[in-house]
């Protein structure tokens, strides 16, 4: 258990570094889609909610887990939909690339 937590800290630290380096390069043009996309990805928390609701270990866990699935799924669906809609709108004026 204790080793797991240390490993988790390593993973967090490395992911935060990757996040900084990758997101620093995102053009300010796309900051709004960036926020909606990271929000959709963040909703991966749904896997925790699915296990909680699915395991049905207690009445409370099942109910809260189901509400959590609803909240996270709506972020996944809504987040990806709106990000794609926004990105489709960004068109270049030059005939360089279609």
């Amino acid at each position: 258990m204790k080793l797991d937590l240390i490993t988790s800290l390593y993973v967090f630290m490395l992911a935060a570094f990757i996040g900084f380096e990758v997101i620093r390069r995102v053009s300010p043009l796309l900051h709004t889609p960036l926020m909606s996309l990271t929000n959709a990805l963040d909703a991966i928390a749904v896997v925790g909610a699915i296990i909680l609701a699915g395991e049905h270990k207690s009445q409370l866990a099942a109910i809260l887990g189901t509400i959590a699935i609803v909240a996270a799924t709506s972020n996944i669906v809504g987040g990806f939909l709106i990000t794609d809609r926004m990105l489709r709108m960004f068109k270049s004026s030059g005939p360089k690339r279609p």
């Binding site: 988790s8 991966i44 749904v46 996270a72 799924t73 709506s74 809504g78 709106i82």
Partner: protein, 462 residues
């Protein structure tokens, strides 16, 4: 292969796809691949999770997924002008999910929780619940259900920090004595109230910073949930979201010339409070749409500086017509976008892209400032404080030091504005009294429409 290993492999692939997703977002040409990678990663991870042997009740899971889709689809189809409030709402949903899972985990495991685990669990529910109510408040203000005006009172920071300290103290007690189960609800209720109090003093102009900050909190709480559930995938996703929100908060606070600590400790409403300067009655030059059209038609290089006023007046499509009319006449038209123009990071870019303005014409502050001296006309549409030269020259101004778009350095400045009333921050803008500034009074959509009509109706020669 055992199912557990298979599930872990789907998670590993999902993690890679999530990182690629953000990497591809760096440029508009590859950005849509990013969405695709994110979707595949998400589908893999959810599919893998559904195979988990511990799941006995698929009915609840199915109900949750279906209801989530029913709510999510309309949230993905809102108008582009409503994107800031939709984003705030989605931060609230994300935080709700994390808080509920954290709460359930506590009641399932207590009192057998190690101090370290209790600490991350506390972080998960504290950040989650304050982000939940804070984001709901932000969404309410942006949707104008709640008053946009900042509400401040004496000792606000003291009350807020006190509440936060109390929540952290309860977390510390629980880490040492996890058997004190009855303390747990307080650790949720206090941050819920704190979230409301945190956003109450924040006005509309500060929303970009607040939304970014709440984004960061939502990410960090999800990462904490990953620690509790020992899910590396969730830790990575939360860390990516957290660092994205953090970077955006830093960019936004720099663009408003606030230190990051100032932002963190509720310095939000302060500009408004400090700004009750003397309103001078000085003459301004005004122009009609006809005169403006003549000047624009004679220009070689025009920079348009949009602000939240353009979004409020829904003028972006008329602005596109103006862009077309001028471009057709051979005028070089670009847009200068200040990082905090609008109500969230990148807000103006999305609105202008929706109006079909090519993204290579949307330039950031530094790019347009470099060329400003060679610019014939700077046309300000619904922006105010981000063009205020007092930020450069007047050390007594509340926005002194804030980077601005130097429209005053253009040969002619035109400002489309409803009236001479001070802007949102209540700060007088010396730009309006300059000799080479022309004020065009009226609703942005009507004024731009009139200019376009003059341009297309008038004769074509310069």
């Amino acid at each position: 292969m055992p199912t557990e290993t298979f599930i872990e492999i789907t998670y590993l692939i999902a993690t890679v796809l999530f990182i690629l997703s953000l990497k591809w977002l760096s440029s508009p040409t590859t950005a849509r691949h990013g969405v695709w990678a994110g979707e595949v990663g998400m589908a893999l991870a959810i599919g893998g999770t559904l195979l988990y042997r511990g799941i006995v009740d698929y009915k609840l899971v199915a109900i949750g997924l279906v209801l989530g889709c029913i709510i999510g689809v309309p949230l993905g189809k809102v108008a582009m002008t409503a994107v800031p409030q939709r984003t705030a709402l989605s931060h609230a949903f994300g935080a709700l999910c994390v808080t509920l899972v954290g709460t359930s985990e506590f009641y399932l495991r207590a009192p057998n929780i190690s101090p370290f685990l209790m600490a991350v669990l506390s972080m998960e529910v504290i950040l989650g619940s304050l982000t939940f109510t804070g984001s709901l408040m932000a969404a309410g203000k942006l949707q104008e259900i709640l008053p946009q005006r900042p509400i401040t009172y004496k000792g606000q920071n003291f009350v807020n920090l006190g509440m936060l300290a109390l929540a952290v103290a309860i977390a510390a007690i629980l880490a040492m004595h996890p058997e004190q189960i009855k303390l747990f609800p307080a650790m949720i209720i206090i941050p819920l109230i704190f979230g409301v109090m945190l956003v109450i003093p924040i006005g509309g102009a500060d929303m970009p910073t607040v939304i970014s900050l709440l984004n960061s909190y939502a990410g960090l709480s999800a990462a904490a949930m990953g620690f509790v559930l020992n899910s590396k995938l969730l830790i990575v996703a939360g860390a990516l979201d957290g660092s994205s929100g953090f970077i955006l908060s830093v960019i936004m606070s720099k663009a408003m010339n606030r230190s990051f600590t100032n932002v963190l400790f509720g310095g939000f409403g302060q500009i408004q409070a400090a700004a009750t300067g003397v309103q001078e009655q000085r003459p301004v030059k005004s122009a009609t749409a006809e005169e403006a059209a003549a000047i624009l038609a004679a220009a070689n290089k025009v920079v348009i500086v949009p602000g939240y006023g353009m979004a409020v007046a829904q003028a972006q499509h008329k602005v596109r017509e103006l862009f077309d009319a001028l471009t057709k006449r051979g005028v070089d038209v670009t847009f200068g976008i200040h990082p905090v123009a609008g109500r969230m990071p990148g807000h103006m870019n999305v609105l202008l892209a929706e109006a079909d303005i090519p993204y290579d014409k949307l330039l950031d502050m530094d790019a347009v400032n470099g060329d400003m001296a060679q610019t014939d006309v700077a046309l300000v549409i619904g922006a105010n404080d981000v063009t205020n030269p007092a930020a450069r020259t007047d050390a007594g101004s509340p926005i002194f030091g804030m980077p601005i778009i130097d429209v005053d350095k253009a040969r002619t400045v035109m400002v489309i504005k409803r009236s001479m009333a001070a802007g949102f921050a209540g700060i007088d803008n010396p730009l309006y009294y300059l000799d080479h500034t022309l004020m065009i009074f009226g609703d942005a959509k009507n004024v731009v429409g009139n200019i376009v009509r003059e341009l297309s109706g008038g004769d074509a020669h310069h």
